[in-house]
Each structure stands twice: as C-alpha cells, then as structure tokens.
C-alpha cells in the first residue's frame, strides 16, 4: 500500500527523536585522540636533535624551515625551526624520517587561528634557546682542532654526499613550486 514506507520512515525519526544523541558539546566534552593521531604543532626534543635536517628534506611541501649553526666543536645546532602549518599536509613523513625520534606531534587539534601569521609556528621554546646558548658557550670554551685539508677530496665521500645534495635541490624546487599554492 502506498504510504506504508512513509509511516515506517516516520517511526524511525520518532524513535531517534527520543533516543540517544550521537553528537557532543564540543569544547566542553573532548574526544580522546588515539596515540597515533597526527595533528597539532610539532614538538621537538631539542636535546636529542642533531640538526641533520632530514625532516625538512622529507617534507613534500617544504613546510619546515630550519636555521642551523655550527658550534666550535663542529656540531650542528638548530637556531630556529619554523613549521609552516598552512603548508603542512600532516603526512607524518618528517617524523618518520627523524633518525633519532626527536620529533613528535603534540596532538592538540585546536590549532585554528584568525591570521596567517599564526600558522608559521616556531617549534623551539625559550628553554631550548637557553640550552643552545649553554652548549655554544661550552663548545667555544673547548673548540675542536681545525681540519687540515691534506689531499684532494676522495671520490667516495662525494658520492655519499650526492643524495643529500639532490634532496636539497628537491627542497628548493618544492619551495618554489609550493608558493603559488598557498
């Protein structure tokens, strides 16, 4: 009979009218995020980081901008680690490529902002900079002996350096590519 389906449908909606609701009052009730959740700001364990820049090379969009200094002991340190969240795809490649597992997400998904500037997030904290200062000073007090170039550069290290070079090139290219997409 025509109309039977309509009545069945109305029964369903009436049941849900009195039934349990599926949504939450969001800012008051928050859903827990699983441990693998990718999102939020990047979190860097500064003491572990060796400034190898693998994370910024792995990034397909060039969203990670690093500034590196070399101290007197010829160790590299980060002076600035800017995460351009507006460009970030949250693909997790930077974290997976981190050889020392010093990079993490802070899993805070409330990262919306009113202005574009807020999306250029500086990962390093003040205590990290404090630490950097200490390390630099300590290294300056005890500098490593200078390298004396003896022979022309052997071919093997050059080959080893090649992929890194290419990676750098890729980074440059992706940056120029990425810009119009902003």
């Amino acid at each position: 009979m025509f109309g039977k389906g309509l009545i069945t449908g109305m029964r369903v909606t009436l049941k849900h009218f009195f039934g349990k609701k599926a949504t939450f009052c969001y800012p008051e009730e928050k859903l827990p995020m699983p441990e693998r959740f990718r999102g939020g700001h990047l979190k860097l364990d500064y003491k572990k980081c060796i400034a190898c820049q693998l994370c910024s090379m792995a990034c397909p969009n060039g969203a990670i901008e690093l500034k590196v200094v070399t101290d007197a002991q010829r160790k590299r340190h980060l002076t600035s680690y800017i995460h351009h969240m507006g460009r970030c795809m949250y693909c997790d490649l930077c974290i997976e490529n981190c050889a020392l597992h010093s990079l993490h997400w802070d899993q805070n998904y409330e990262i919306s902002a009113y202005h574009r500037e807020a999306f250029d997030y500086e990962v390093l904290t003040d205590s990290d900079r404090e630490y950097l200062k200490q390390v630099m000073e300590a290294a300056a007090a005890n500098p490593a002996p200078p390298i004396v170039p003896k022979k022309p550069v052997p071919p093997k290290p050059a080959e080893a350096a090649k992929p890194e070079k290419e990676g750098e090139k890729a980074e440059e290219k992706t940056e120029t590519e990425g810009k119009p997409n902003e």
Binding site: F2, G3, K4, G5, L6, T8, G9, R11, V12, T13, A22, M33, P34, R36, F37, R38, G39, A58, P60, M89, Y90, C91, D92, L93, E96, P163, E166, A170, K173, T174, E177, N181
Partner: protein, 365 residues
C-alpha cells in the same frame, strides 16, 4: 501557437547540490532539460605536475587529496603502480591490511553517496544518519593511522604501521553494526515511496551508452555489466575472498543507488574474511630509503570506489617519476552526465549529479 525559447541555467560552481565545485550548464525548456554540459576545473591543482616534482615516497600524500572521500583506495592504487614499477614484493599481511582498510573506506564512501543523494532529494535526516555511521569508520582509521580524512596509511611496499589488536576488535564490532544501520536506511530511504518515485526510471542509461561513455564502477554495474576490477584483474589478495559483483538491471538511478547500497554488504563480507584470515608476518617490504625504480613505464589500475582508478607512471631511473597520469574514474564518468540529464526535469538533474557520484577533487585533479 506561441513559440517557446530555451534558456541556459548555470548550476554551480556555487550551488548546494553540485558536490563541490562542479558547474553544469543546463539548456532548459521550462523545466525540461535539453542538454547538460559539465564544466570543471575549479579545483584543478595540478596533482600530476606536482607528482613529477616529488619523489615517489613524497607523492603518496598527494593521492590522498584526489578522491578525498576514499583516500585509502587512492593510496592503494598509487602504491601498487609504484611497486609494480620498482618490482617490490608486498608481504601478505600488508596486502590483507590494505584490503581491509580499502574496503572499509569503500563502505565509508558509499555511505557518503547514500547521504548526499538523500540530501539532494531533500531528505536531510537520511544524510545525518549515514554520516553518523561513517564516523565509526573514520574513528577506526584515526586509530590505525592517526588521520580521519587524508590517511597516508598505505605506503610503497606495505602499510605504514601494523594494525593494533584494538583496531581488529573494533572492526569486528563495526561489522556487526553494519546490517543494523543498513536496515535503518532501508526504512527511511529505500522503502520510502517518494524516494522510489524520484529514482525509479530516471536517468536511464542502456548498456551500450554506458559502455560508449567508458563508464566504470557502480555506474556501469547498474546497467548490468559485471565490470569490477577486483574480479576482472584479481589484483592483490582479492581472489582469495568470496564476494559477489553487485549489478543492476535497468541502469537508472534506483539501480545505481541499489548497487552501492548492496556493495556495502559485499565490502563488509570481504573485511570479515580478511580479518578472519589475517596472516602473521611483516607489514612492510624492504624498500630502499631512496627509491629509484628502473627505467620504464607502468599502467596499473585498481577498483576505486567510483570506478577504475588507473595510474600511468613513466620512470626515467631517477628518484622522481618522469610522468604520472591518473585515470580518474569520476572524470571519465562525467561524460555520461548529458545522457543522464537529457529529457528529464531540473529535479532529476540533481539526482543525476549525485548518482554519478563525482568527487571534484578527483575530477579536477
């Protein structure tokens, strides 16, 4: 007799029911459609060009953004193509996990289809119900890969991380839930007489027309042609599972809807079998850190949720693909839009857009 004149109506790109930014130029005579011309490109991002400038590994997250409702299937297609190009053997456990997540994503995508068709026909409640149930799948994905839309979970050589026991347990629970909510859709949508009368006999395509437009996926299966790449090619571990290819009879919107509706059950069946038979072992093959596939080219296809998803990759031996072409199912399916709208009313055109189930991220690429 007074003469009549046709007029043009631009539907979209900003229109509530054009699924993103599709623009359709309708040539109308009163309410009757004389012709419909899809105009696309409003979401063109040049993914193919972007992939040429990224390494193979970096390319995977971009495929997430093609058909963003079923990202897993896109990842699957791209990774299969690269694996074929580079000759990587994927461990069996990884293949099983891939099938599980891809089929779960097919369910999610078909739920979105049901919901969007419902809201295009005015039944917004039906849409909310499908989205409520899709949420469960997204939560499962969130658990296993940490994202809800752009998963980037299937990688070249396997999957990113192994599934947790919690995921398996929750998936079983979800599968038990499937017939329950499908029954509810049956009550509120499928059994509804208004819904039926809006879909039955509308936008009918014969088998010949559908083939001549090179349609794939549920759109061609609705006409009765059992063209399902999962069966035709038998890729991955699909031959091990027992499932049917759902086909329709008339090729109208009702059949398109029913094919997808019943495919959810088939997908659930596959997921169940895959979970039962999930082998132990590694979840990732040994893939070199810097992937350099040998010189050559490959065309590999999988059954995406919207049809045949093909990747044509040319390698010149470097770390980046020389050329990537993506055969996007909804892009090709859009050719049938004119035949599906011609001779029907404005109200039917909306149902026709939905029934093709295009995703503009994929159409515009």
């Amino acid at each position: 007799m007074a003469g009549t004149e046709t007029y043009t109506l631009n539907m979209g790109p900003q229109h509530p029911s054009t699924h993103g930014v599709l623009r359709v130029q309708l040539e109308l005579d009163g309410e009757n459609i004389i012709s419909a011309t899809p105009i696309m490109g409003y979401l063109h991002r040049g993914v193919e060009k972007m992939l040429e400038n990224r390494t193979y590994v970096q390319g995977v997250p971009y495929t997430d953004r093609l058909d963003y409702v079923s990202s897993m299937n896109n990842n699957f297609g791209y990774c299969r193509a690269v694996e074929e190009l580079a000759g990587i053997e994927v461990p069996e456990r990884a293949e099983y996990i891939r099938v599980i997540v891809a089929e779960l994503n097919r369910i999610a995508s078909h739920l979105v289809f049901i919901g969007s068709l419902a809201i295009d026909l005015g039944a917004s409640t039906g849409m909310l119900y499908t989205f409520r149930d899709r949420e469960e799948i997204l939560d499962l994905f969130n658990l296993v890969c940490g994202a809800r839309m752009t998963f980037h979970y299937i990688r070249i050589g396997g999957v990113n991380r192994d599934v947790q026991p919690e995921f398996i347990e929750k998936t079983y629970k979800f599968l038990e839930h499937v017939p329950e909510f499908m029954e509810e859709y049956k009550k509120i949508l499928l059994g509804n007489e208004i819904f039926m009368s809006r879909l039955k006999g509308i936008s009918k395509l014969s088998q010949e027309t559908a083939l001549s437009h090179n349609m794939t996926g549920p759109n061609i299966r609705a006409t009765g042609i059992p063209y399902d790449i999962r069966k035709v090619d038998g890729y991955s571990v699909y031959p091990k599972f027992d499932f049917n290819v759902v086909t329709g009879k008339n090729g109208d919107n009702w059949d398109r809807f029913n094919v997808r509706y019943n495919e959810i059950f088939e997908s659930a069946k596959i997921v169940k079998q895959a979970l039962d038979g999930l082998p132990e072992g590694p979840f990732m093959a040994k893939v070199p850190k810097v992937l350099r596939p040998p010189k050559g080219e490959v065309f590999s296809r999988t059954e995406g949720t919207r049809g045949e998803l093909g990747f044509y990759i040319v390698s010149d031996g470097s770390t980046k693909p020389y050329r990537v072409h993506i055969r996007r199912p909804s892009f090709v399916n859009m050719q049938g839009l004119n035949d599906m709208c011609k001779g029907y009313l404005i109200g039917d055109s909306v149902a026709a857009f939905s029934a093709i189930d295009p995703l503009m991220g994929e159409v515009d690429c």
